[in-house]
C-alpha cells in the first residue's frame, strides 16, 4: 500500500446477523484528507462506520496508520480509530471534564485504582480548549444544551488521540454557528497532515464544503470515490435520483 494512506479499506463486507449491508467495499483516505461518505438513506453509511469503529464484526482488510485492525485488541484499535456518533444524552451526572477524560480509556492500563497521568490531563485540556468547552469543564453533562453536548463529545473524541476520526452525522441538531465551529475544529485537527477524518453527512452541501474527497455509496457498494471536484455530477444524480446541482442552486443560489 502507499505510505500516505491513513485508512485503507480492502474488500470490506459487513452487516447485521445474516443480512449483509456493505458488499466488498474498497477505498482509501490519505493522511490530512477529509472524506465524506454520501448516499441515500439505507445505503449502509452508518453501518460502514460502525464496522470500521469495531462496533459490529466485518470481513475483509482494514488498515489504519499502517496497522491491520483484524484481531487487534479493542484498546489498541481505539488508539487508531475513534467514532463520534450522533448526539446522545448522558444518563448520569458526569462533569464535562470527567466525561472528556473518559476518552483516555484506551490509553490507560486496566490496573486497580488507576489515576490520570500528566499525559492524560494534557490531552484532555488540549481537547477541551480545541472545542471551546474549557470554560464549561466543571458543569454537569446532563445540564448542557445539545450544541454544547456535541462539542463535549468532540472533545472526548480528540482526547482519545486517534489517527482517524469517523463522524456519524455530527452536525445534526446543531445551530448553523455550531456546525461551522465543529467542522472548523475538525479541519484544524487534520491540518498537520498526520490524521484524517471520514464522515457521514446528511446535508450534501455541508459535506462537500467540509470534505476534499467523497465516497459515493449505492446499496452498500462503491459507486465512485475521488476528489470532490472530479466527481461527475451524473453520479450524484443517479445516487439521489434527482438533479442534485439544480437543487443545490435553488437552495443556495440566492446568496451566491
Amino acid at each position: 500500500m502507499d505510505i500516505t494512506a491513513m485508512l485503507a479499506v480492502e474488500n470490506l463486507s459487513c452487516g447485521y446477523g445474516k443480512t449483509e449491508v456493505i458488499h466488498d467495499l474498497s477505498f482509501r483516505v490519505k493522511a490530512g484528507e477529509r472524506l465524506c461518505i454520501l448516499g441515500p438513506n439505507g445505503c449502509g453509511k452508518t453501518t460502514l462506520l460502525r464496522a470500521l469503529a469495531g462496533v459490529i464484526p466485518w470481513q475483509g482488510s482494514v488498515e489504519a496508520d499502517g496497522i491491520l485492525l483484524h484481531g487487534l485488541p479493542p484498546k489498541q484499535r481505539a488508539k487508531k480509530i475513534a467514532l463520534m456518533s450522533q448526539f446522545s444524552r448522558a444518563a448520569f451526572d458526569y462533569t464535562v471534564y470527567e466525561a472528556v477524560m473518559l476518552g483516555r480509556y484506551a490509553h490507560r492500563s486496566g490496573s486497580l485504582f488507576l489515576s490520570e497521568t500528566a499525559a492524560d490531563r494534557g490531552a484532555v485540556e488540549d481537547a477541551l480548549r480545541r472545542t471551546g468547552v474549557w470554560e464549561l469543564r466543571e458543569k454537569l453533562v446532563t445540564k448542557l444544551s445539545g450544541g454544547q453536548m456535541q462539542r463535549v463529545f468532540l472533545a472526548r473524541t480528540f482526547a482519545q488521540e486517534p489517527r482517524v476520526i469517523l463522524l456519524d452525522e455530527p452536525a445534526n441538531h446543531l445551530d448553523l454557528r455550531y456546525q461551522a465551529e465543529l467542522l472548523e475544529s475538525l479541519r484544524d485537527w487534520t491540518a498537520d497532515g498526520k490524521r484524517c477524518v471520514a464522515g457521514v453527512f446528511h446535508d450534501i452541501g455541508l459535506a462537500l464544503a467540509f470534505a476534499d474527497t467523497a465516497l459515493l455509496l449505492e446499496e452498500g457498494r462503491k459507486l465512485a470515490c475521488g476528489p470532490v471536484e472530479e466527481l461527475d455530477e451524473k453520479l450524484f444524480n443517479r445516487l439521489y435520483g434527482m438533479d442534485v446541482r439544480r437543487y443545490m442552486r435553488q437552495m443556495y443560489g440566492r446568496w451566491a
Partner: protein, 352 residues
C-alpha cells in the same frame, strides 16, 4: 496546566473529605445499631465488650456478663449482616444501572431474586429447612438457583441477539423473573403449611443473626467490590452507550459478562442469607451519585458505605418500632424508599 492541577486536587480533597465523613457516619451507625434495642448499651460499653472478646481484657464491673453475649453474639452479627447486605445490594445496583444505562435497572431484574426465591421455596417446601443442616442448605441452594437463573438469562439473551444489547438483556431478565415468581407462588399455594415461611423470606429478615453468615458474606462483598473498582473505568465509559463504549476500546461482551456474573454472585449470596430486600439497590446509587458524582471510582465506595448505613438504620426501625414483633425489613425499605425515590425523581426533573 498548573491551574487545572490545583483545581483537580481541590475537587478530590472535597470528595475525600465527604468520603471520610460518610465513613465516620457509618461507624457511628454501626455502634448505635448495636447499642439500641430492648436494653440500651452505650457505645463505650460496646467498645469494652469488643475489647474483652478480641483482646481478652476483663469486662468493667458495671457491665453484666449477659450483655456481652447479647451484644457480641446477637446484636453485632445482625448489625454487621445488615451492613454487608446493604453495601452489597447498593453496589450491585449501581453497577447494573451503569451496565444497562438505565437509572431504574436493578440486579433483581436479571432474575437474581426470583431464582434465589425459587431455590429457597424448594428447600422450605421439601422440609429440609428445619433440619440442622437447613441453616446452610437454604442459602446454598438459593445461591445456586440465583446464579443458574442469571446464566440462563444471559445465555438466552446471547442466543437471541449475538451482540447482547441492553434491551434484550432487560426483556429476557424480566420474562425469566416473572416465570420464576409464578413457580414460586405455585409452590407456596400448593403447600399452605409452608406458605408463611416463603412469604417471610420474600420480604427479607436479618433474624439469622449468626457470625457464620457474616463470615460468609464479608469476603464475597469485599472481593466483588474490589473487582468492580478494577472495572471502574470501563463502567464509566459504558454509561455513555454501548456503541460508543465499544468504539472507545471496551471489550463489551467480555466486560459485561464478567460484571454481570460478579453482580449475580454478590446479590445471590446476600439474598441467600437474608431474603429479598428491595429498593436499597435502586435508591442508594442515586443518593451516592448526588453527593459523590457519577465517576465509579468514587460512586462504588460511596454506595457501599451509604447502602450499609441505610440498611442498618432500616433494621433498627424494623426491630424497635413494634416490640416485641419485628417488621419485615423489606417493608421498611419500601416504606422509606418509595417516597424518597419519587422525591429524587421529581426534584431532579424540576431543575433538570
Amino acid at each position: 496546566m498548573r491551574k487545572k492541577t490545583v483545581m483537580g486536587r481541590k475537587m478530590n480533597m472535597g470528595a475525600g473529605m465527604k468520603m471520610g465523613l460518610l465513613f465516620l457516619a457509618a461507624l457511628l451507625t454501626l455502634l448505635f445499631g448495636v447499642g439500641i434495642g430492648s436494653v440500651y448499651v452505650p457505645p463505650v460499653d460496646i467498645l469494652a465488650i469488643l475489647a474483652e472478646r478480641f483482646f481478652g481484657q476483663s469486662l468493667p464491673d458495671h457491665i453484666p456478663a449477659n450483655y456481652s453475649v447479647m451484644v457480641f453474639d446477637m446484636r453485632l452479627p445482625r448489625v454487621l449482616l445488615a451492613f454487608l447486605t446493604g453495601a452489597a445490594l447498593a453496589v450491585c445496583g449501581a453497577v447494573m444501572q451503569s451496565l444497562l444505562q438505565n437509572p431504574l435497572a436493578s440486579p433483581f431484574g436479571l432474575g437474581v431474586s426470583s431464582g434465589a426465591g425459587l431455590g429457597a421455596s424448594l428447600v422450605i417446601v421439601s422440609g429440609f429447612a428445619t433440619a440442622g443442616l437447613g441453616t446452610f442448605l437454604l442459602p446454598a441452594v438459593s445461591l445456586c438457583f440465583a446464579l443458574g437463573t442469571v446464566f440462563f438469562v444471559l445465555l438466552l439473551a446471547a442466543r437471541l441477539d449475538r451482540r447482547m444489547s441492553n434491551v434484550t438483556v432487560i426483556l429476557v431478565g424480566m420474562v425469566v423473573s416473572l416465570f420464576g415468581n409464578a413457580v414460586m407462588s405455585l409452590l407456596a399455594t400448593s403447600s399452605p403449611a409452608h406458605a408463611q415461611r416463603i412469604q417471610l423470606w420474600q420480604l427479607g429478615s436479618f433474624s439469622m443473626r449468626e457470625w457464620s453468615a457474616v463470615w460468609a458474606l464479608f469476603p464475597v462483598t469485599l472481593l466483588v467490590c474490589l473487582y468492580f473498582l478494577r472495572y471502574a473505568g470501563d463502567l464509566d465509559v459504558m454509561t455513555f452507550g454501548e456503541e460508543q463504549a465499544s468504539a472507545m476500546g471496551v471489550d463489551l461482551r467480555r466486560v459485561r459478562g464478567r460484571l454481570m456474573t460478579a453482580v449475580a454472585v454478590l446479590t445471590g449470596t446476600a439474598v441467600a442469607f437474608v431474603g429479598i430486600i428491595g429498593f436499597v439497590d435502586l435508591i442508594v446509587p442515586h443518593i451516592a451519585r448526588r453527593f459523590f458524582g457519577a465517576v465509579h471510582r468514587r460512586t462504588i465506595p460511596a454506595c457501599a458505605l451509604l447502602g450499609g448505613t441505610f440498611l442498618v438504620l432500616c433494621d433498627l426501625a424494623a426491630r424497635t418500632l413494634t416490640p416485641p414483633h419485628e417488621i419485615p425489613i423489606g417493608s421498611i425499605t419500601a416504606l422509606l424508599g418509595a417516597p424518597f425515590f419519587l422525591y429524587l425523581f421529581f426534584a431532579g426533573r424540576k431543575d433538570g
